[in-house]
């Protein structure tokens, strides 16, 4: 599987888009993570307007067999959540980097250990 070059990645298997002109980044989980989870059946996302902190849990992803915490890869304020994925969690599996995005954050702080696509690919394959 290929991880898009224009994104950055956390070791918790989230991806983060480059910030737009308003300083807002889009966040999702990687294809690697989606495959490891199996069919995602429920997503619980942070509330719009709430603050999230880098490295801390901000939601849940449920698959057939397990529940996984969703971590925020950066700190900031949640500006939007993907209602499509709430209604159809299978989008996380079918289009993890596109229609299966999870939420958007106006970034106020980010950790220093975010990975490039190549670094994440190497990390995920080990």
């Amino acid at each position: 599987m290929s991880n898009p070059q224009q994104l950055r990645y956390s070791k918790e298997h989230e991806w983060l888009s480059a910030a737009d002109e308003d300083g807002v980044s889009t966040i999702g989980i990687t294809e690697f993570a989606a495959n490891a989870l199996g069919d995602v059946v429920y997503v619980q996302l942070p509330d719009v307007g709430s603050a999230v902190s880098a490295g801390e849990t901000c939601g849940e992803l449920e698959s057939t067999k397990s529940v996984s915490d969703l971590y925020a890869p950066v700190s900031g304020e949640v500006t939007e959540i993907n209602e499509d994925v709430v209604n159809d969690p299978a989008l996380v599996n079918s289009a993890p980097f596109e229609g299966g995005w999870l939420f958007k954050v106006r970034v106020t702080g980010e950790p220093e250990d975010l990975l490039s696509a190549d670094e994440y690919t190497a990390f995920a394959e080990n």
Binding site: V41, Y42, T64
Partner: protein, 375 residues
């Protein structure tokens, strides 16, 4: 440093699973396919078309001899000596306290020959117990775990698929029956059993023949949409069908009566059997005291209950515990099996919820199974 885990065992079909790109998982010391693609698609294939399973991790034990039936009557809770040749029975092996050591399928292959199929995780316990319990009888217990691969084809199209590959009279083969025959030209015990709630067959065959039979079934099933299926969908299929799973609904802390399966205990069979006294007490207890009852729960929301989660009454008091839970592909909602206090076991009981990591999610109490195929 901790000791490295022992190398998991691999089935005769291991290379095939890897070639198919299966996600593998450790299951009771075996490296088994969890899913090949989407477990939901595999589940749906079994409900609507057909699915192919490798179940070679299951434990086979043969009992052979003039008193093999009597030995099983003594060792198990069922009346196996009364089983007709060619038929199969769901039964259990209990300890002296009536606790369930395992649930089993027993096939009678001949007047003096039975095949016992145990869960992978309990196969050694069952083998040891049967060996000890058969001691006073003219019967030998043979460990046949390495003698058989087990392939299951399950789903409404399974009879049609298998018919093209076998000389056996499938129309004459009833549910819970098994007979020797050939499949794709190799000898097999062909049994009309399964763990999915669908019509289907389980094929016991020599491990060296497993690849050939798997391939033949794959080819014969392709036109009707047969797909390989992993253990993940097997679990959601059996849960929808209301079938108990050892380690979840069944354990040594549970008697068959506690599990709502007291009917498998045959007190009127000849001779004594291990656990009789304790099971008679459990039976009386079930008649007099309101016991916990195994029920089905269907979610109103979308959050999935997991084994061990508390079941709560309207006032928040704990009335039971979830034993298995999963999103049901057929119902489109999360479902669970749970033991609850009998007063809350009636279908439609108001106010029941499951504590899902701190949040009380409403659930409807229903009778099991969640799904029953049309016949």
């Amino acid at each position: 440093m901790t000791d490295a885990p022992p190398t998991p065992r691999r089935t005769a079909l291991d290379a095939r699973h890897r070639a198919l790109g299966a996600t593998m998982t450790d299951f009771a010391g075996w490296d088994m396919p969890l899913r090949y693609g989407s477990e939901r698609d595999e589940h749906t294939a079994v409900r609507t078309r057909a699915g192919l399973f490798d179940l070679s991790h299951m434990g086979e034990i043969s009992l052979i001899g003039p008193q093999a039936g009597q030995a099983l009557d003594h060792a198990l809770v069922g009346h196996l000596s009364a089983l007709a040749v060619g038929r199969a029975r769901y039964t259990m092996i209990c300890d002296d306290e009536g606790g369930i050591l395992d649930d089993l399928i027993v096939y009678r292959l001949g007047d003096e020959e039975f095949l016992v199929v145990a869960n992978a995780a309990n196969a050694q316990v069952v083998l040891d117990a049967l060996t000890e319990r058969a001691g006073g009888f003219t019967a030998s217990v043979r460990d046949d775990r390495d003698a058989y691969a087990l392939i299951a084809v399950q789903g409404p199209e399974s009879a049609g698929i298998l018919r093209t590959l076998t000389d056996a009279d499938l129309d004459g083969l009833k549910y819970y029956a098994g007979l020797p025959g050939t499949v794709a030209g190799v000898p097999a015990l062909i049994a009309r059993t399964g763990y999915t709630g669908e019509d289907g067959f389980e094929l016991f065959l020599a491990p060296g023949d497993a690849e050939r039979v798997w391939e033949a079934l794959t080819e014969a099933g392709a036109p009707v949409g047969l797909v390989p299926c992993g253990l993940s969908c097997r679990d959601t299929l059996r849960l929808e069908a209301g079938m108990p799973l050892y380690g979840h609904e069944l354990s040594t802390d549970t008697t068959p009566f506690d599990a709502g399966l007291g009917r498998v205990v045959k007190f009127d069979k000849p001779g004594d059997f291990i656990g009789r006294q304790a099971l008679e007490a459990a039976s009386r207890r079930a008649d007099s005291v309101t016991p916990r009852t195994l029920v089905g729960l269907v979610a109103e929301g979308r959050r999935v209950p997991r084994a061990g989660y508390a079941v709560l009454a309207a006032d928040g008091s704990r009335i039971g515990q979830v034993t298995s839970g999963a999103p049901s592909p057929t119902l489109g909602k999360p479902i669970a099996m749970a033991y609850v206090d009998a007063e809350y076991a009636k279908p439609g009981t108001e106010g029941v919820s499951v504590d899902i990591r701190g949040s009380q999610e409403p659930y409807e109490v229903v009778a099991l199974p969640f799904y029953r195929r049309e016949r």
